[in-house]
């Protein structure tokens, strides 16, 4: 991943929370989205177009990315620009609050940018139109090619200010890009920005690849590859493209994930028909057995503090979810509902576990507390699985496959997201069919 220096400066005092009147309640779903006006950023007259970059259009382009981000949350209703009442540069100095209130906006985003000496400088302000006050003012300086990230970072700052939660827009999703007929699917690792932009393919599709997952710093990916027809867990450095097999196991390794400190990979190893959970320390190469049971133990995921592991096992006869200490002791079954449960993933907040449930031939994505209580099913479909958390623990991304006719006709696989409130289910646009999504942490912390 490119090293990006973003200089961050706060050039006005932040107005304290107590003065703000507008606040978005994110726990209720999208019942009453906040009307927000995102004014196009004013482009400084002295800025010149660069090769491969239309600087004159950057103001409009950045504001439309911010709008798209807000719309995708279901919590905001970005207003149409035709109704806007002030020029961007004037509004940015000081908006006429009553005019913006007239178009029913409750919050306003203004900003300006300049490109000089191959540096992009962007500043923006968030205005509370109800209280007629400035809520945030921030500026960034970065290389011009980072303009999309600037738009995402601004979105995060505003989201954070209005909801009280950290944002998730300056993030990426790694997934498996799919093409070809269902019985001979070609699968490649692909990475894109959270909003579907900047897709990059990391493998060529010569061998089957599955289940990529980021490490905590988002620079490494662990995944399953069928390279040379030997299904093994691999490690990939996104920046250098360097790949290596994880460990020296005499059989299939699969279902990998990083530990929260990024030092270990936890995965399943299948031997003589039995799959158990192992870890390997990436530095010392020490392999540790975590479970030892004649059943299938797989899909392990650490709690964010690294003290516990959730996984699924069919030791009771059918696939169910279990939690144990990270050394493998104290194994406890936590799902007892009707149906089978799989793919548990611990929320980055630590409070919830997301899972896939299969019951009476239907597939559900749900969440429950880490002791198995409080199960809530968020969405039902013909086939969907593999939830992955947004870094703020508010949204899940997963993949869904359609029912297919003879010779696989009508088959497709797509990424979807849903809020943990159960609202705001959306298809995520991808260049190809897609599956096995994994959400990165925030790129700029």
């Amino acid at each position: 991943m490119k090293k990006i220096i973003i200089i961050f400066s706060i050039f006005f005092n932040l107005i304290s929370n107590s003065n703000a009147l507008i606040k978005v309640d994110i726990t209720r779903g999208n019942l009453d989205p906040l009307p927000i006006a995102v004014s196009p950023l004013h482009v400084d007259n002295t800025s010149v177009n660069l090769e491969n970059l239309d600087v004159k259009k950057l103001g409009v382009n950045i504001s439309s990315i911010i709008e798209k981000n807000f719309k995708s949350t279901g919590l905001f209703n970005p207003l149409k620009k035709e109704a806007f009442v002030q020029k961007p540069d004037i509004a940015h100095l000081k908006p006429r609050f009553e005019d913006w209130r007239l178009i029913k906006a409750q919050a306003l985003v203004t900003g300006k940018l300049s490109v000089k000496n191959n540096k992009l400088k962007v500043e923006f302000r968030l205005w509370d139109l109800t209280a007629s006050k400035e809520m945030i003012a921030l500026s960034f300086t970065t290389t011009p090619s980072n303009w999309r990230r600037v738009a995402h970072i601004i979105s995060d700052k505003i989201y954070e200010r209005l909801t009280g939660e950290t944002g998730y827009f300056d993030t990426r999703i790694i997934y498996v890009a799919e093409s070809g007929p269902k019985n001979q699917r070609v699968k490649k690792l692909a990475i894109m920005d959270q909003d579907g932009a900047k897709t990059k393919y990391l493998t060529l599709g010569n061998e089957l690849v599955l289940t990529p997952r980021f490490n905590p710093s988002n620079q490494m990916v662990t995944y399953l590859s069928y390279f040379r027809n030997l299904p093994r867990v691999y490690l990939l450095d996104i920046e250098t493209g360097k790949q290596e097999v994880v460990g020296n196991f005499p059989g299939m390794t699969f279902a990998p994930r990083f530990s929260p400190d990024g030092k270990k990979i936890i995965m399943s190893f299948a031997k003589d028909g039995n799959s158990d959970i192992f870890t390997m320390d990436l530095e010392t190469r020490v392999v540790e057995r975590i479970t030892e049971h004649s059943s299938i133990d797989t899909s392990p995921s650490y709690s964010p503090d690294g003290k516990y592991i959730c996984f699924n096992s069919d030791r009771s006869g059918l696939q169910q979810i279990y939690v144990m200490k990270s050394d493998g002791t104290n194994v406890k079954r936590i799902t007892f509902g009707k149906g089978i449960y799989g793919t548990p993933v611990w929320s980055p907040r630590g409070d919830l576990i997301a899972f896939t449930k299969v019951r009476k031939g239907r597939f559900y994505i749900g969440v429950m507390r880490s002791d198995g209580t409080g199960e809530r099913l968020l969405t039902e479909n013909f086939y969907q699985e593999a939830p992955s958390w947004s870094p703020n623990g508010r949204v899940l991304v997963f993949y869904r496959e359609t029912k297919s006719g003879p010779q696989g006709k009508g088959f497709s696989a797509k990424l979807w997201s849903i809020d943990i409130t159960g609202y705001n289910e959306r298809k995520i646009k991808t260049e190809t069919d897609a599956s096995d999504p994994s959400w990165s942490s925030l790129l700029s912390k």
Binding site: P181, K182, N183, Q184, R185, L208, L210, T211, L224, N229, P231, G251, M252, F254, A255, S268, A270, D272, G273, N274, S275, I296, T298, S299, N312, D314, L318, Q319, I340, G342, T343, T356, V358, G361, F382, Y383, E385, A386, E401, K403, S404, G405, P406, Q407, G408, F411, D436
Partner: protein, 157 residues
Amino acid sequence: MNFNKNLRNIFLILFATLALSACSTAKKSQTTGDVYTGTDTVEYLASGVKDRVFFATNKSSLTSASRETLRKQATYLRKNKKLNVTIEGHADERGTREYNLALGERRANAARDYLMTYGISGKRISVISYGKERPVNSESTPLAWSQNRRSVTVKVK
């Protein structure tokens, strides 16, 4: 009149026969429990030696028909001492991907273990699981799923 009546009777009998035979085709089930028992997708290692066995949903136990198929494979492998095989384990599309990888591996090993009890050296049999990644029938129907829950013995070239 009489002639017409006879004709009508003949037609009725014919119709009834057709209806019955249609009925019997439809009723001739290709699964027992939900294990596939047909031969539509089956290939042969040699004359009379089926290359694959089928499993029930979420199961890796061998049916008596599967054991018979594997005994024939064992006999064939004993006759062809230089031949090595790979057993590919597969699952249907109705499970989570990672669990299905494990399930395919368990199914392939169930077949391998059985061949070994008939004296075939484990060194001659490698296994690989494809989980739900390589269906033989791409349709989303119970019949297709039963054909996809399989382990297939493939000659190593």
